[in-house]
């Protein structure tokens, strides 16, 4: 006999959601995975081509640079936004004047559309835009550049936009973590004679483990999926200098109609997300458990 609690929420109520999950996640995932082994062009019948698409993903120039750029962006984006976010949180957790207004300011970019934000930055980076004008203004003419058109700087520009937009999110996570540390703990440490740096290193930082888990895991997923910023700022150029896995998935599939090849990219991205996320979660959770 069904327990009354279960009878109050019959399994049949979950059927719509189960169907949705099967269609939009599991079936779509399997279908997408299958495309990756075909030469489907979105119109005619797909032919099975085995590992051809993956061979291309491993050897073609666009793919190698997409993979490299994605990893580069993810690593630096996660590191920088966490460093800045943690710094901001430490700065704004105390009794600083105007800290509420500053919190609102630093978090504001998070809620905005990455596409729109990227266009604002595209102007700032423009050849005759504010950065170059400013450099010329202080006599540093030699430092001016075609920021978005130079393969050496374009990827950094993308990174700057991402870090500017989402450091505030890490800040909010760390602030929430800091607020969870009872004052007595820090006071006890101060009475015990711990220096400020030591208090941070030995007490605050370890206690921030749960905040760090989110602050690292979420930007990692964002970073691996980087798309909007690249499309707006450089459209992957110059050459393949700023292509990412997501932009390649989009271009190959919907630009060139190479659905199979695009799906292979997507499968690589999925595998990357799964592997990186699992490793991270295991490591970060273990750190939390040691609390």
């Amino acid at each position: 006999m069904l327990s009354p609690t279960a009878a109050r929420a019959p399994l049949s109520w979950a059927i719509p959601a189960i169907v949705i999950m099967l269609l939009f996640h599991y079936a779509a995932f399997v279908a997408g995975g299958w495309y990756a082994f075909t030469d489907w062009n979105g119109l005619t019948r797909p032919n099975f081509v085995g590992l051809d698409n993956f061979r291309r993903v491993l050897t073609s120039e666009e793919a190698r640079s997409a993979l490299g750029n994605t990893l580069f962006l993810t690593v630096f984006y996660v590191t920088l936004s966490n460093a800045i976010g943690l710094g901001l949180a430490m700065l704004l957790n105390g009794s600083l004047r105007g800290r509420n207004a500053l919190r609102v300011l630093f978090f504001a970019p998070v809620v905005m559309s990455p596409l729109a934000v990227s266009y604002v930055w595209k102007f700032i980076f423009a050849v005759n835009g504010p950065i170059n004008a400013g450099l010329e203004g202080v006599g540093l003419d030699s430092a001016t550049r075609v920021w978005l058109g130079d393969p050496d700087t374009a990827i950094w520009a993308v990174l700057v936009v991402m870090v500017w937009q989402f450091s505030g999110l890490c800040m909010a996570f760390y602030l929430a973590g800091l607020q969870g540390i009872p004052d007595e703990v820090l006071e006890a440490a101060e009475i015990d004679g711990a220096s400020r740096w030591r208090r941070f290193r030995k007490i605050i930082f370890p206690l921030l483990a749960p905040a760090a888990t989110v602050s690292i895991a979420l930007p990692t997923i964002f970073g691996l999926r980087t798309f909007d910023q690249v499309i707006a700022l450089t459209f992957g150029g110059p050459g393949y200098a700023t292509e990412t896995l997501a932009t390649q998935i989009f271009k190959q599939t919907f630009g060139f109609g190479r659905f199979g090849y695009g799906a292979a990219f997507a499968l690589v991205l999925t595998a990357l997300v799964l592997v990186v996320s699992s490793i991270q979660l295991i490591v970060l959770r273990a750190r939390e458990d040691r609390l």
């Binding site: 109520w13 559309s113 729109a116 934000v117 969870g180």
Partner: protein
């Protein structure tokens, strides 16, 4: 705590410097849209000499027959529709999961939550071709359906955490009071879930409002195109005229920024609710 006045001063100075740096894009967001065309690159850094509000009128007209107003309405329809349907699906499903015993509940929980990690870039390709066949590409309904599907794991995850902590007392009281199952959910459970419903609404609303990848694929060139797609098209057409681009960008950011300033506390809390 005693701290030297110098250390205090240094902290404030550092904060101020960072704040100024962070303000730079906002500064340009505010002024470029009001500059006359000739002035943009003549003086990219400074204030406009005179405010050119006509930029906004011109930008508002949009491109390809879709005005920014229409695009905003499209975004609103898609966002509100998706949020409502995700709330409905997520709350009911999380309730079922929480109330169906440990083993069944855990099984279902993982069945749903696995969908959070899988990036949708892979699923979108087959979904696009399937939905194109049944006419769900290029219109609001298609996007609402798609987002409902994609956001279900996230909402089930958020709701589950909360429903689990709800004591069964309220349901038992309502049952003794003679309420039917539907009534118990509608009148007792769902209202009690209000805090999570707020979080789900904010999260899903922001993701959908700001998402570009999916909207670009499903709506480009259609009259149902949303703000991100419209802005993308607009920039493509007027890339040289930064004042118009900025007017359009400003229009697209303004509603969510206003909402943020109005409810920043709740909004930030919505993001960080899970951290203790």
């Amino acid at each position: 705590m005693t701290r030297s006045p110098f250390a205090m001063y240094g902290r404030e100075l550092g904060a101020l410097a960072l704040a100024l740096l962070w303000c730079v894009p906002f500064y340009y967001l505010a002024i470029v849209s009001l500059k006359p065309t000739t002035e943009i690159f003549a003086d990219p850094v400074g204030f406009p000499d005179r405010l050119e509000f006509a930029n906004y009128a011109e930008a508002w007209a949009g491109t390809m027959g879709v005005s920014l107003g229409k695009a905003m309405l499209n975004s609103l329809i898609v966002t509100v529709g998706s949020v409502l349907s995700v709330i409905l699906i997520g709350s009911v499903t999380a309730y079922v999961i929480a109330r169906n015993g440990r083993r069944m509940g855990t099984l279902m929980y993982f069945f749903f939550v696995a969908g959070i990690i899988l990036p949708h870039q892979l699923s979108v390709v087959p979904l696009y071709s399937a939905m194109r066949q049944i006419g769900l590409v290029g219109n609001h309904l298609g996007l609402i359906v798609l987002y409902s599907g994609l956001m279900t794991p996230m909402s089930v995850f958020l709701y589950s955490g909360f429903v689990r902590t709800l004591p069964a007392d309220y349901e038992e009281a309502a049952e003794v009071d003679g309420a039917s199952r539907g009534r118990i959910f509608r009148m007792v459970i769902f209202p009690l879930l209000a805090p999570v419903t707020g979080t789900v609404a904010v999260m899903v609303g922001m993701v959908v409002w700001n998402d570009f990848f999916i909207q670009l694929i499903f709506l480009s060139g259609s009259p149902a195109q949303t703000l991100p797609v419209a802005i993308y098209g607009f920039v493509g057409e007027f890339s040289a005229r930064w004042n118009l681009v900025f007017a359009a960008v400003f229009v697209s950011i303004a509603p969510i920024l206003a909402f943020y300033l109005f409810a920043q506390r709740q909004l930030i809390q919505g993001f960080t609710g899970g951290i203790k």
